[in-house]
């Protein structure tokens, strides 16, 4: 059976391109090469459709190798319905970001693209990693290139923003690291597992003690350790304060990647790790996140409303939109979860598009203050139309992608709690208010000082900029009109998660299995017997450094 390491290829190809670009002499030719490279990696990632089997929730295209057996760490990656679209979102946004930053990045072009492609590897890696330590490695590694992107190519307060971003996120994730280590020892000390492992599929089988009243039971503590890391990444109210700083200071491509993909690493973490591994705690403390999610929706919207800076407004709208995702996840039902996954993609597309649009106007005027605009519609008709469509998508008007996601989430959250659902619905209204009000102030009315400026007449979008926006606009309608094209790939995984959330397990398929459908493994089937036995033997033989000698 042909075994092509497709996922590894997708994950590490950007890093390879980064290395190639780093070796190029000078800055010339970096941009075209980056564009071609990003298109190639998007093309390769489309191969996933060929090998991905939507009919099973099993983990597919699995690759498993031993990495540091002494610490129980393996290189174990795979894809299922939860991560599939996030991988594609990541690879899809890269060419757009490269093309969109054609003029935005003027200095150190080569270094910028190296950082961008390295970041791509880290993000993709965290979506496919099925070993907790491997996940942590990618999760943390993604901080470094983003830190440089914000810190080198950012605005005036870039150093402050990048430092805050790095330390905030790291502070959240180190406790998760300890929780991971604890889980690994729990796996070792559990009957039936009995060896030191960070393999997520094995850790799903752990039954961690949970007492309903006890905040101090292991499961609850682990739940909060993981949740803290992911909540900061999402970011959830009240730990969102790094986000507006980072967004405002980041260069346009940095903002697009940050909002489009990096924030999803947090919500993905909740779906992939928190809910299945700590089901009782998630059930029991889920209201905290429902509540904070709902507060975040309203708070983000209200704060966005009064922002004088368009980019900051979009940044706060992210807080609000990610609140919906959290709401959907912690509604703990199929509607909510489906909506949450869909909303992750929507947010990546519409907020990414908004950041790009803000960047485009900023390149022309070097100002993002709403006050200084006005009457843009008369001067920049194409820009206005595109901005309007994206605005509609962002406020979830029917027929756009945003509607499908928010509607499903609201359905789910009403099922979970009427009160929370009601609060969330007011968020929809506030969302419409701040976006449309901003739209009105920027595009209609009296011409603002920047728009009037005779010396610097504004030019409408260039062909390059339209090409950048076109795929996003197509997706906005495609995802809005035909959601099933997208959801059908995730359906079995979501159903499987929701039906078995108290005893979640995943089967695995390697590439050969997926091509040869007849040999496909049933949902929930564990590792094939021999493979499991083998891995146990090796893992036992290579017990952790910490556990040796007993």
């Amino acid at each position: 059976m042909a075994q092509m390491p497709l996922l590894s290829l997708i994950v590490f190809m950007p890093l390879l391109f980064a290395a190639l670009m780093a070796l190029m002499p000078g800055n010339r030719g970096v941009r075209p090469m980056a564009l071609v490279a990003s298109l190639i990696q998007f093309g390769v990632s489309l191969l996933l459709f060929k090998y991905y089997d939507a009919s099973t929730p099993a983990l597919q295209l699995v690759e498993q190798h031993s990495w540091i057996p002494e610490f129980g760490i393996s290189y174990f990656i795979g894809v299922d319905g939860i991560s599939l679209w996030l991988i594609l979102l990541t690879t899809f946004l890269l060419p757009i970001v490269v093309l969109g930053s054609w003029n935005a990045i003027e200095q150190k072009v080569k270094a910028f693209h190296v950082a961008l492609f390295a970041l791509q590897t880290a993000m993709l890696g965290s979506f496919v990693a099925m070993d907790l330590v491997l996940f942590y490695v990618f999760f943390e590694l993604s901080l470094v290139p983003m830190y440089f992107i914000v810190g080198i190519w950012g605005g005036a307060r870039r150093v402050y923003a990048s430092m805050k971003f790095f330390i905030y996120t790291m502070a959240g994730s180190v406790l998760m690291l300890l929780a991971i280590i604890y889980l690994m020892f729990a796996a070792r000390d559990t009957e039936g597992l009995g060896y030191f492992t960070a393999n997520v599929l094995e850790l799903y089988k752990l039954k961690l003690p949970f007492t309903a009243d006890g905040l101090m039971s292991p499961q609850a503590l682990l739940f909060f350790a993981f949740s803290a890391a992911f909540a900061i990444k999402v970011p959830m109210f009240p730990v969102h304060t790094w986000l507006p700083d980072a967004h405002v200071e980041a260069p346009t491509p940095g903002s697009v990647v940050l909002a489009g993909v990096m924030l999803k690493m947090g919500t993905y973490g909740f779906v992939r790790f928190v809910i299945p591994m700590f089901p009782e705690a998630a059930e029991h403390f889920g209201w905290v996140f429902l509540f904070l999610g709902a507060v975040g929706i309203v708070y983000g919207a209200l704060v966005a409303m009064v922002q004088p800076d368009i980019k900051k407004l979009v940044a706060y709208s992210s807080v609000s939109h990610m609140g919906y995702v959290m709401l959907g996840i912690f509604a703990m039902n199929t509607y909510g979860m489906t909506g949450a996954l869909y909303q992750m993609l929507n947010h990546g597309i519409s907020t990414g598009a908004l950041f790009l649009l803000v960047g485009m106007i900023y390149e022309r005027t070097h100002s993002r203050e709403i006050e200084k605009y006005g009457g843009l519609a008369k001067v920049l008709p194409i820009y206005t139309i595109i901005f309007f469509i994206v605005t509609l998508s962002s406020i979830a008007v029917p027929m756009t992608n945003g509607f499908v996601g928010e509607f499903l989430i609201l359905l789910g959250s009403f099922q979970a709690s009427k009160l929370i659902g009601a609060i969330a619905v007011t968020g929809v209204i506030f969302g419409a208010v701040y976006m449309l009000w901003m739209f009105k102030r920027v595009f209609f009315g009296e011409k603002g000082e920047l728009v009037r400026d005779e010396k610097h007449p504004l030019h409408d979008l260039s062909v390059r900029e339209i090409v950048v926006m076109a795929p996003l606009l197509v997706l906005i309608f495609w995802m809005g009109l035909l959601p099933n094209h997208f959801l059908k790939y995730s359906k079995s995984s979501i159903d499987h998660l929701m039906q078995n959330k108290d005893a979640y397990q995943l089967g695995v398929q390697t590439m050969g299995d997926a091509v040869n459908r007849s040999a496909s493994v049933l949902p929930g089937t564990l590792l094939p017997e021999t493979q499991e036995a083998d891995s146990k033997v090796t893992a036992k033989a290579n017990m952790t450094g910490a556990g040796v000698g007993r």
Partner: protein, 494 residues
């Protein structure tokens, strides 16, 4: 009782004897050629050959739990790997000494001799199976260092540093020796295996003299590895000493002494003394905090690194706590593995960071400030890139070597239920991110107008920095072979 020493004793001592023999060559050359200093390169080559041959002998003859000199020395996996770390650090320090302006002088051959002498002391410490022998080793190591620090071209700071280190070090030695006396008086032995059997009963019967003896010995060690509250000399001495010597002190001294500490805590008997456990845990916790908090405020690069090395001693103490107060047999061996791995990682990172300081110091002047690295990312991209890797690794960013070092230590702490120490440790490493990233901010995000700083060649120092950056990446990604080698050496099976 047979008083004759077998050949195996001499085989265990072979690395030290080789060092001793080879270290005399440059000095003798000088004596017989009418006090004419040989070419520094010749001296460096001799020094390197001495260390390399000692390393070869260590790898050949050490390991496998053999005793020598009537059980005064022990040769096991701990000793083998500690010797490797110490000797490699020594070799790179000699390289850096060859390049550095403060160590280049008419007395260069004497300096290499002293460094090799200090290495002999360190090997005695790591091989020692007896507290008295450990004391002898520590004194040999320290005496050479006192002189080495003072022998700088720079006049004021290094003399002050040497004097401070000497006075405080002698004081610590006295306490250490007193502790040994108390231990011998109560336990009746100073050899580690016998002592380890006595720890449980003596502490259980609340023998206070013994407890005080142990605490005194720990204090003596704490001084050498700059554990709070015995760390006050560290920034001054690290700053005053010539940078290559500082690198040597920060790596080799720490590695050797931590191995001795581990040997002292290879018993489960310590659990009977709750106060001792509290004291050592708090020492670990406060060392991390003090080191990191003080490093944040340092404008001087070397002082910042000095405080960072204090913080790393704190992390390493977590391993010691787990070894001594863990609840299972074999935890001491596990602690040996993770502590040695951390020491290896720490030594590589520290050598790299001091090599960086040495490279810049020469051009900027005596006290290198953190601000002096401004704009280096543009003017010296390779150098800055290597330093950035070293700094990220020190901060514990995966998948670099420093991350896996911390991973091992904190895993052990969690396994032995020292949750609060582990939590405290990772939170401290978040604090440390702040000052480790500061040079990176300055190198890459500021100072686009900074002037191009000329740097002298310093080939060997550059080599040290590049080597450490490459090792940090490679050994981080492929740490498995090293860990399994460590494991089989320490557990004595393959």
């Amino acid at each position: 009782m047979n008083h004759a020493l077998g050949i195996s004793s001499y085989l265990i001592a072979a690395p030290m004897l080789a060092l001793l023999a080879a270290s005399l060559v440059p000095v003798m050359l000088k004596v017989f050629s009418g006090n004419r200093e040989p070419h520094p390169f010749v001296t460096t080559a001799y020094g390197f050959i001495a260390v390399a041959s000692a390393l070869g002998l260590a790898i050949t003859f050490l390991g496998g739990s053999k005793f020598g000199f009537h059980k005064a020395l022990v040769s096991d996996g701990l000793a083998l790997w500690a010797s490797i770390i110490v000797l490699v650090s020594g070799a790179f320090s000699i390289f850096m000494m060859h390049d550095h302006v403060e160590t280049q002088s008419k007395l260069f051959s004497e300096k290499v001799f002293l460094l090799l002498g200090s290495l002999i002391g360190m090997l005695i410490v790591v091989l020692s199976n007896d507290l008295i022998v450990t004391f002898l080793g520590i004194e040999t190591m320290s005496l050479c260092l006192y002189v080495l620090i003072a022998m700088s071209r720079e006049t004021v700071l290094s003399k002050e540093a040497a004097f401070k280190y000497f006075v405080l070090g002698s004081f610590a030695s006295a306490i250490f020796l007193y502790g040994i006396a108390l231990i011998y008086g109560t336990a009746g032995t100073t050899q580690f295996p016998g002592l380890m059997e006595q720890v449980g009963p003596l502490l259980e019967s609340r023998n206070h003299l013994f407890l005080i003896g142990i605490i005194f010995v720990v204090l003596g060690f704490a001084f050498k590895v700059s554990v709070f509250p015995f760390h006050f000399w560290t920034p001054d001495v690290y700053q005053g000493a010539p940078t290559p010597v500082t690198a040597f002190m920060a790596t080799a001294v720490k590695a050797a002494t931590f191995v001795a500490i581990l040997r002292l805590f290879q018993s489960t008997g310590y659990q009977h003394s709750v106060p001792l456990k509290e004291v050592i845990s708090w020492l670990a916790a406060l060392t991390m905090l003090v080191g990191n908090a003080a490093a944040i405020m340092q404008p001087n690069f070397k002082r910042m690194l000095a405080y960072s090395s204090v913080a790393h001693s704190g992390y390493l103490m977590v391993g010691v706590v787990a070894a001594g107060f863990g609840d299972s047999q074999g935890v001491a061996s596990a602690a040996g593995i993770v502590v040695l791995f951390y020491l290896l990682a720490y030594s590589i990172m520290t050598l790299g960071s001091f090599a960086f300081v040495a490279l810049l110091e020469k051009s900027v002047g005596q006290a290198l400030q953190v601000d002096d690295v401004r704009g280096l990312g543009r003017t010296h991209p390779v150098l800055a890139g290597c330093m950035a890797i070293v700094l990220f690794s020190l901060a514990g960013v995966p998948p670099l070597l420093g991350f896996f070092g911390k991973f091992g230590l904190f895993s052990l702490a969690i396994e032995q239920n020292f949750y609060w120490l582990a939590i405290w440790g990772v939170l401290n490493s978040v604090v440390s991110v702040y000052y480790y990233l500061r040079p990176i901010v300055l190198m890459y995000m500021q100072g686009d107008d900074a002037p191009h700083v000329e740097m002298n060649k310093q080939i060997m120092t550059r080599f040290t920095l590049f080597g450490s950056a490459i090792l940090i990446i490679v050994m981080g990604l492929f740490s498995s072979p090293i860990l399994s080698a460590l494991k089989s050496a320490i557990l004595g099976r393959s």
